[in-house]
Symmetry: D3
Subunit: 238 residues, 6 copies
């Protein structure tokens, strides 16, 4: 089930930091994909449902260069099947010694309307991918062809990515701090809560810049803060 | 397809070291499960076909202690379905911070006639498991319940284990040096070749103990060595 | 506040695996000291309240060999102050490239009636320490004097040890699987619950050895299992 | 005791590379905070006395989101107590899987006149922090709230940060190569020596750019070099 | 034997990603220097023959600051002996806790016409080196003087760098994805093949941007693709 | 220059822990080979001069199984050239994913009178090697043939082993805590000092077992301790 458009729109306005706090309040502490960062930190926030690809260690006899001759090869097939608006998430076993994908495949995803791509390995042609419009997240650049190390084995199954659990359809959000996985059934409520939290954080940031202490302000333990925030929202029309 | 009994018998007499050399000659360099060792190095060599279990990172809301109430839970189901004579191989994402299994499940596998168990994580109740007859291999002891970290997600699919590719049905062999994975279609020929290599290595070991140089002997670059080996085999009836 | 004698006695009869499950049920997932194992896995279970020592990285000018001339040196002082019955827990910053302590200090702890010693670094004189009666747990043997790397800085403050939080007075339990930290206020109830769990696990182990399937038995989802277990306890007088 | 203004001014003109060499000459080899880099490498050099915060692993029951309601929470208190001109240094146990702090707290430090912030973990809101005027150094961006992993436990005690020993009051200097810790009692003399060394390095750099060999020039083993350098300084009025 | 100028020119127009694929086809899977990236990813591609320097762990008594007084010190000597057009490759044992070199030595290499510098450790003065014209590749910035950790021991011998084998005279190519090592005897044919592959990849990239599916196009399993590519080359005059 | 027999005899009676302290007093802090342990911790202490072998990453085309046909292959040649009484030390780049050597080569060393073997990688046939009389030290068992990963490139050159510098001729001592490297020119004086230190440690150990506090005893800051020790030595005839 795809993300609601309103949820998608909300998630684009909040940070992964805020989302992880909302998840933490619900007892979910492992939803951040660890050690994965954007190739271009200046891109807008990435949002989409997870479409997954699972890699396993490549056995040499099963992974000559000729395997890509097969139109049904799971990696190439996945690239063509990932729905527009989704985020393509690859379980590369946290191993960036060979590439998870390169610029041609990532370009194809972009053209197909895919919302972003994430691997817990690395991309080749990283400079070109960074210049594409589609947001991409990895551990580090890695030139060697993925056949050196990875064999694509399964499409759209539950996977691990950077120690986070990823189920197909989970909401994936990525910004300069990395990528977070929101369980599908929580996407709407987390989006709502994160938008509210962001309102308050914006208010706090403004006050702190003006010289206010954080004590009593963040969190808003004083009644005065809560009153002031209400007035601020009204004033700003937020 | 199960291993032939003759192949199984041969593999029990050879070492993982010899097998990796035979695989290396065929261009297979990644078949050793890395950093995994026997809980009891004194056990006989473990041999069996791979039956696999895949773990992914556990999401907290999906993994309360009550999940094991479900008779269909993939981990418990896998324990009951693993065929006698097979080796139970778990992809624990190389993470031993929580247990892959404990002594009760491993005892159940033993009673069911399973040939061994391997994880690239760790076992709890490790002292008890070491005392069982069934050979077990892991990275290190790990007490925390597997729900802390691992969610069983798939049974008998291709997996990675300690950076080695494991396909269901592959021949798994384990000794004091660790565990090697022989692709199913090569099991018979590797078994034959490894038995032959072992004959020669035994001959060489004997000669080296007697004081012979390795030059010309190992490998047998001198005709005299090959003649002497032929005589030795005849003499020993091997 | 020291552990009650009854709690201490109970904890000596249960495993760290069982304890981690009881802690997991209470939402505590990080209480196992990671990657730390006994020097002698055959020793009885270690139980005691935590007495802590904190190391920080050694600055060379502050750590010549002469510092031990000072009777007030925190390491030596801690050795003399650790209460009998306590477990001496060292935060070595998970760094075993130099020793946390050696056989003379550990012998002194034993003579003073200390219940055990744990470091997330390593011990020197490891073979001698393994032969002492006092249980000791570390990552690996490490010969270099601790001044090479560690400076003792604080005694009996809250510390991290192997990624687990340790507060002075917490109940520390160690066996062949490693060392677990029970928050002080939970020690009594965890001890009780773990004893009960162990009763059931012993029953299950017996049944599994007799050939029973784990489904319906472990956990005891079937009424019949619970009835049978009640009878077994009565029968065994447990 | 705060840094002398003259010392502070001198340290702002020299590099961490030069300082580590001056420390090396005094037998101090471990004063570089390892694997920590600036969020914005283009900022001016950071200089200030260390004010420290110690984290330990977070125990779940002690770290619900509500702890920040407490005005005395060590992390929030430390933020308000760190003196203007100081550098706020956090011992995050080298663990960047959760945030050490976020943009609101770092902004508050900036407003309060703090000279910089360093953690051997990671910051959330990293893009915003990079845009602040205050220099910040970490291992990598990390979105999850620090309660996920870290519990603030002690303020202004000696700590380890990235394997370097840090005592409150030590002089902290950070540039594009990372952060170095100068023991407080050496700050003045190291500042003087580093300024002198920098004069010579600038001279050498100029000569090397002009095509001079490094042999005899760097270090200045030839009398001619020393004479030339003296003339160069005179000429430049340095 | 230096690289042919034509080979050098060709290698400057292709990517490390393309080269690793050409090497993979020849059974060479380990030629990428792992975890090493450019200080300035915007520089043109680096090409040159390997001139090597081997570091070993520094013994303190052999590595006082005075060793550089010796004109024959292997590090300084290597800097003066590296041929113009070569790439200076340092085996720093993958350890970036101290510097492999700093800006003065790298400037000297640039003035001498050296084509680039690579270490599997780190550089000090990293911001200055990034601004030089000469391309430089490392793991991360590292301020401490190399004497802290590294002792230069051998010049122009076979070494390991980032897990890749490097023989003097091998062709070294570096771009934003990192650095690849082409065995000397394969440099000409790899250059030719990579240029051809790049032609095709450019064609594919153009078609993918136009909306074409990758199936049948990449690789060119359909006759139509091959015909179209031939026409495209003719048209473009490539 | 071989070790004096008297020095060799003395070193056999002292521990690596004591030796590292004697080295620490001389400013040598990095002489312990890190993370390397005996295959059989019960063996007597290993002592001998270093004879070294350097491995580099194996390039696939240079390392087919047939290379051992060459009598001049550096690994095989080194085995035959290592002097009796020496310790064979291998720089395996701290990589145990393939074997450094196996039981046949180690047996040959034993027959030739070599005093021991050390690698910072791993041995295959580890159970057999553990049963040989010759002491052997490694990181962990590793079955794959060394050609998978390692290429022997140099004999008896200075190397790194487990982050320690090893020069040919250095005195190598190994026990249950691991292996330490004594610079050749210090071997005699370290042996003398370590024997003296061991006398005192034996005295202290006896007193501590009798219930004495360590304060004033260890180190012997009280005159009474020194007098008592003198009497103890006289009494024991040591």
């Amino acid at each position: 089930m795809p993300l609601k458009q309103t949820t998608r729109d909300k998630l684009k306005t909040v940070s992964t930091a805020t989302i992880t706090t909302a998840l933490f309040k619900r007892g979910l502490r492992r939803q951040m994909i660890q050690e994965v960062l954007p190739l271009d930190p200046a891109k807008p926030t990435m949002v989409g449902e997870a479409f997954t690809l699972r890699y396993m260690p490549a056995r040499e006899d099963l992974n000559p260069i000729s395997v890509f001759q097969d139109r049904g090869h799971p990696q190439r097939k996945a690239i063509e099947e990932c729905p527009p608006g989704a985020v393509f998430v690859i379980d590369s076993c946290k191993d960036a010694r060979a590439a998870s994908a390169g610029s041609i495949l990532v370009t194809r995803l972009q053209v197909r309307g895919v919302a972003g791509i994430v691997t817990d390995g690395g991309f080749r042609d990283s400079a070109e991918i960074a210049r594409l419009a589609i947001p991409a997240f990895h551990r580090r650049p890695s030139a060697p062809t993925n056949l050196t190390l990875h064999q694509a084995i399964d499409t759209n199954v539950p996977i691990g990515c950077g120690d986070a659990p990823v189920f197909p359809g989970d909401a994936i959000v990525g910004d300069a701090d990395g990528v977070v996985v929101i369980p599908a059934h929580l996407a709407d409520e987390i989006a709502d809560e994160a938008v509210e939290m962001t309102e308050f954080e914006d208010f706090v940031a403004e006050k702190v810049k003006e010289g206010r202490t954080i004590l009593g302000l963040y969190p808003a333990t004083e009644e005065a803060t809560r009153t002031e925030f209400a007035a601020w929202r009204k004033d700003k029309g937020r």
